[in-house]
């Protein structure tokens, strides 16, 4: 906390500068972060290039003989309906990342809103909001998301919204904690003294200084969201018109004895994405927490 430089300039300029400064230093001193970053970079490139490096449309049935083991034409094999698993896996990366990032954005918006109100205004409002947050933390996220998608309809948007809705409490808590500490600092008092409005103080003075602490958790939350989506798909809660790891593993479950490749390839790629995001998040937490930083000083 005390190593963070507190400045008060515009929101984007401040966050941007801090990020740029930090990232260049993180690379130098943190192998975890670097490894995670590389993995994620490759994954994102694969997701973007999916149409260029696959030669079968995903979801299209009978592009190959059902249950063909991995061969040159179908590197990851063919599933029960004759779909090319390689194409489905590459497009599945897209689905995973889109669900991960957009639901995290939604969770961020809700979490920041609640955290800001609770942390800045305090009082009864804070008590009520934090009580709600504590309660929301206890309800099993996965089951709640599952129920929401099951009864509101199994489509892509609903999955993103459901995951976003169940994921905000952690972020709200973090933001509140940051606000509680930052709002006591002298420069906030100064901002009040010159007559800045509450909204200005919140968005231009406090929030830019609170965001850096939340960034590692954004990656970890994306990770959780990706696993949530895959878990839901595995239980059969998914949009059947979108290639997804969860749904692939769900289908694979019925043919484990017969076709190991149907489970192996989607799962290994999903695991690699998760490893990448975990490394990235952990590396950043380690970097931002000076107590954990072992090598050198930035």
């Amino acid at each position: 906390m005390n190593n963070r430089k507190v400045e008060h300039t515009g929101f984007f300029k401040n966050v941007g500068m801090q990020l740029l400064n930090k990232t260049s230093k993180v690379f130098k001193f943190n192998t975890r972060f670097t490894a995670g970053f590389m993995i994620l970079l490759v994954v994102i490139i694969l997701a973007i290039a999916a149409p260029l490096i696959t030669w079968h449309p995903p979801l299209k049935t009978l592009v190959g003989k059902p249950f063909t083991p991995p061969i040159a034409l179908h590197p990851f094999g063919v599933d029960d309906l004759g779909r090319d698993i390689y194409a489905n896996v590459l497009y599945g990366i897209r689905t995973s990342l889109i669900v991960g990032f957009s639901s995290t954005m939604l969770a961020l918006i809700i979490g920041i809103l609640i955290g800001v109100i609770a942390g800045y205004y305090g009082g009864i409002l804070e008590d009520i909001l934090m009580r709600i947050t504590d309660m929301a933390l206890v309800i099993p996220q996965f089951l709640l998301a599952l129920v929401i998608v099951a009864i509101f309809g199994q489509n892509f948007q609903n999955i993103i919204i459901a995951i976003g809705i169940v994921s905000w409490p952690g972020i709200a808590r973090l933001i509140r904690a940051e606000f509680l500490s930052i709002k006591e600092r002298p420069f906030i008092e100064a901002a009040r003294a010159v007559g800045l409005s509450n909204v200005k103080i919140i968005f231009e003075e406090i929030l830019p200084n609170a965001i850096p602490a939340v960034i590692p958790y954004i990656f970890l939350q994306t990770n959780t969201a990706i696993l949530l989506e895959a878990g839901l798909g595995f239980l059969g809660i998914a949009d059947p018109n979108v290639p997804s790891f969860g749904l692939m593993l769900n289908t694979a479950q019925q043919y484990l004895v017969r076709a190991w490749w149907m489970a192996f390839f989607p799962g290994i790629v999903l695991s690699i994405i998760v490893v990448g995001l975990n490394l990235l998040g952990d590396g950043l937490i380690e970097y931002l927490n000076p107590r954990l930083r072992k090598k050198g000083k930035p």
Partner: protein
Amino acid sequence: MIFIFRRLLQYIPMILVVIVVTFLLVRLAPGDPTYILVGEVGDESFVRAARERLGLDKPLYTQFLIYISNVFRGDLGYSYLRSESVAKLIIDRIPATLLLVLTSMFISAAVGIIIGTIAAAKRGVTDLTLSILSIIGISIPYFWLGQIMLIVFAVWLGIFPLGGMVSVGHEYQSFLEYFFDVIYHLTLPAITLAVFNIAFITKITRGAVFETMTQDYILTARAKGMPESRVIFRHALRNALIPVVTYLGFNTGVLLIGAILTETIFAWPGMGSLLYDSIRLRDYPVVLGIFIYGSIIVILANLIVDILYGILDPRIRIK
């Protein structure tokens, strides 16, 4: 006593919140809520009877009161597909799920603490290997790990059964035989579920042992000429146990979800398999019931850990 009472006051409303959330979700959903509360099957007269029983033709607050009183009486509706009450269906499955969760908790605590302590005592190469292994252990999704374990150990090597809790059609001569058969079936799912926690507990133990090793009383113990192994196991490990217990206790929710996913793979006859089948059959009353029961189990587990904590460490009671 006052402390326990206060904790109860804190947690009971959470159960109420779960029920309110369920009620709201069902009413907010598009379409006729009857189909969600009854399931997408059933003839006209059955649906009409259900609608009357649930008071769906009455104003919203009456519906709410009826729903709350039903849930508190343990009436979560009726599964038309299985001709059985939802509550009974779920309660019948809870023991199997708990057996899986508790076994894997035990395995992960035992293995994680041992590895974590060794890692803290001997730094260097083990340190790096362990952090790589723990990142992998934390990252692999349960449901995929389970599938791979099943393919390798049951399909290819044939060491373990393909699933279930007991051998089908087997006549047991004694309780002991039955017991060992269950253990045999339990091994793969319990290990699958334990891997994530082993990785995490190793990490926590390592950190905690490390921290305690810098304390003065460890220095004293060493100065007395106590052998290093005794220093670690008698003094350092003891204090490292607290965070492990906290972690396991407050992560019952995560474990329960893990169990639900793992059960699906190994056809373990618990709540997870029930949930999986109910989703496939669109048996919504059961899905909602599992949400409510699952949340209550997690809330109760948190409550128990919280109370135990207060008993073990009186300082916490004041908060």
